[in-house]
């Protein structure tokens, strides 16, 4: 999620402000994981990033990175699944930023990069936080794509949902499943509270006080 955040901001920026050929195609690709059955997404990832996949083979050969059946692959799958939610949220907040403020910053001598850092970014912070939390929540519940791409290896690629599922498949595993369920609820609740709190802090600064 942390790795995907800069990409999310970048893509959201391109979608919100950019005018380029293929914008709707990019938009489609970004949103695809939201619509496609998760298993399909997982399979596509396997094809692309598997040891023999197009990108996977390249990464393995030149950078020594193997994603399939590793925790990094699980993270990738979760990131991809959460990506559309994050992009949507950030994009909406970028569209809500008054371009007139950015113009004003420009006339005050700020270059476009500085305008983004000092005006746009602080103003879209609530959107970024909301997007990050949504994507985190999605990653928590991620099951289909992960299990297809990196399988369900305890201690390596097992997500919370997958672990609960495993427990329920074993006789007498209900207690373990329940424990994990409580853990899931606590993490989710903490994440939501944290996002609310951060959004409140940001809003307090931005709004009329």
């Amino acid at each position: 999620m942390l790795v995907s955040l800069p990409f999310g901001i970048l893509v959201a920026l391109a979608l919100a402000r950019g005018k380029f050929w293929g914008k709707s195609i990019l938009n489609g690709i970004v949103h695809l994981p939201l619509i496609l059955p998760p298993v399909v997404t997982g399979f596509i990832l396997l094809v692309l990033f598997g040891r023999r996949g197009v990108i996977g083979a390249f990464l393995d050969q030149y950078l020594g990175i193997v994603l399939s059946f590793r925790w990094t692959g699980a993270a990738l799958a979760c990131g991809v699944m959460g990506f559309p939610l994050m992009v949507r949220s950030i994009r909406l907040s970028i569209e809500a930023v008054d371009a007139k403020l950015e113009e004003a910053a420009g006339t005050l001598g700020a270059s476009p990069a500085f305008v983004f850092m000092t005006v746009t970014l602080p103003l879209i912070l609530p959107g970024i936080i909301a997007g990050a939390i949504l994507s985190f929540a999605k990653a928590m519940g991620e099951f289909g794509a992960t299990i297809t791409f990196v399988s369900n290896i305890p201690g390596e690629t097992q997500t919370l949902s997958a672990a609960i599922y495993t427990f329920t498949q074993v006789p007498g595993g209900d207690a373990g499943a329940l424990r994990l369920t409580i853990v899931a609820i606590i993490i989710s609740m903490a994440a939501l509270l944290a996002s609310e709190f951060m959004a409140y802090m940001v809003g307090k600064r931005t709004r009329l006080e």
Partner: protein
């Protein structure tokens, strides 16, 4: 410093073709809404591009389409005050004011924070958030923010248009001080005769994307003739006497002495008096028992009819020309003709001090 602007641009059905220079002091771009004033100032700032033309400040060529030069707005260092304040909501007033200072080149960063804060009377607002300020306060902070970026030129796009009358009169004196104390060239966009008469040294009159006239405020405003409802004469003079009891100031102008509402007039100060043409009455004999305090004698120079039942009468009074706008009917009844000796009665309340 001389700003040279030559620009041609098409915006949909609207074509813009202007060329003017702006020197030290305030140059007003004046005209009705939709005449292209804002487009011109946006091109100067770099927020809009022009199809063809050249913009230069002294020797620094900022835009030259023939040579493919187009400096981005942040390199131009032209302060811009917009119609609405456009303060950054996530920063307090002090940080808003300092925003442009980060980017100003080190050698062009005079330590004038306190001076400008004092000039604009915003010292008490520094730790507040923009959302909590009144419209007039916001606009003053926006002006301060533009000034503190140490601009080479200040562009103001109807900075008072979004304010109500009392807020306008709150901000206007600060604009006057700015003009008089900072010596920064200012391009001021406005459609208000009163503002232009009060602030501008030079006026560029625009209509339908073209320049109709350029000259001093009094030349251009008088040149509006009978055609514009807002036509006015601008008389400059010296305050001779202030009557605190009746709150009137006596101003000696080239057309004679005028009594003007005093506000805070100071004896000996040079002021401009705005006389809207529609507030001037004409009499062929010296009127008596009239509530209008100012009666000037002069001769009719020219009469222009606007074709809608009104006429503009130019009256030479001493070394000045006063414009009157009256109905063609009363002009006929009085038998007005060029060369005739007449009296111009001006309602005191109609006069505005600069």
């Amino acid at each position: 410093m001389t700003l040279t602007v030559e620009a041609k641009t098409r915006l949909g059905n609207f074509s813009l073709d202007v060329s003017f220079t702006s020197e030290q002091g305030v140059t007003a771009l004046f005209g009705r809404s939709g005449s292209g004033k804002t487009s011109v100032i946006r091109m100067i700032s770099g927020l809009s591009r022009l199809d063809q033309g050249r913009i230069a400040l002294d020797g620094d060529v900022i835009v030259d389409t023939a040579r493919g030069i187009h400096q981005p707005p942040h390199r131009r260092r032209f302060g811009y005050v917009f119609q609405e304040a456009r303060l950054f909501p996530h920063l307090d007033v002090r940080k808003n004011l300092n925003y442009g200072r980060w980017f100003a080149p080190k050698n062009a960063r005079p330590d004038n924070f306190d001076q400008i804060v004092e000039l604009l009377g915003i010292g008490g607002l520094l730790d507040r958030r923009p959302g909590r300020l009144s419209g007039g306060e916001q606009q003053r902070v926006a002006i301060g923010r533009a000034l503190l970026s140490s601009p080479r030129l200040l562009l103001m796009d109807e900075p008072l248009a979004a304010l109500d009358e009392s807020r306008k009169s709150e901000v206007l004196p600060y604009l006057e001080r700015l003009r008089d104390e900072l010596g920064l060239p200012i391009v001021y966009v406005s459609h208000s005769v009163a503002e232009v008469a009060r602030l501008a040294d030079r006026v560029v009159l625009m209509k339908d994307g073209r320049i109709e006239a350029t000259g001093t405020a009094s030349e251009v405003l008088r040149g509006l003739g009978g055609e514009m409802r807002e036509a006015a004469s601008v008389l400059s003079g010296t305050v001779e006497e202030v009557d605190q009891v009746h709150r009137l100031a006596r101003v000696q102008t080239g057309a004679g002495a005028l009594l003007v509402p005093a506000e805070q007039a100071q004896v000996g100060k040079t002021v401009r008096v705005l006389v809207p043409a529609r507030d001037v009455m004409i009499a062929t004999v010296k009127p008596e028992g009239l509530s209008a305090l100012n009666i000037l004698s002069g001769t009719v120079e020219r009469i222009d009819a606007d074709g809608e039942g009104m006429i503009g009468v130019r009256i030479i009074c001493g070394s000045e020309t006063v414009l009157a706008r009256i109905t063609a009917f009363s002009g006929g009844v009085l038998g007005l003709a060029p060369g005739q000796a007449v009296f111009a009665a001006i309602k005191t309340a109609a006069l505005e001090r600069r």
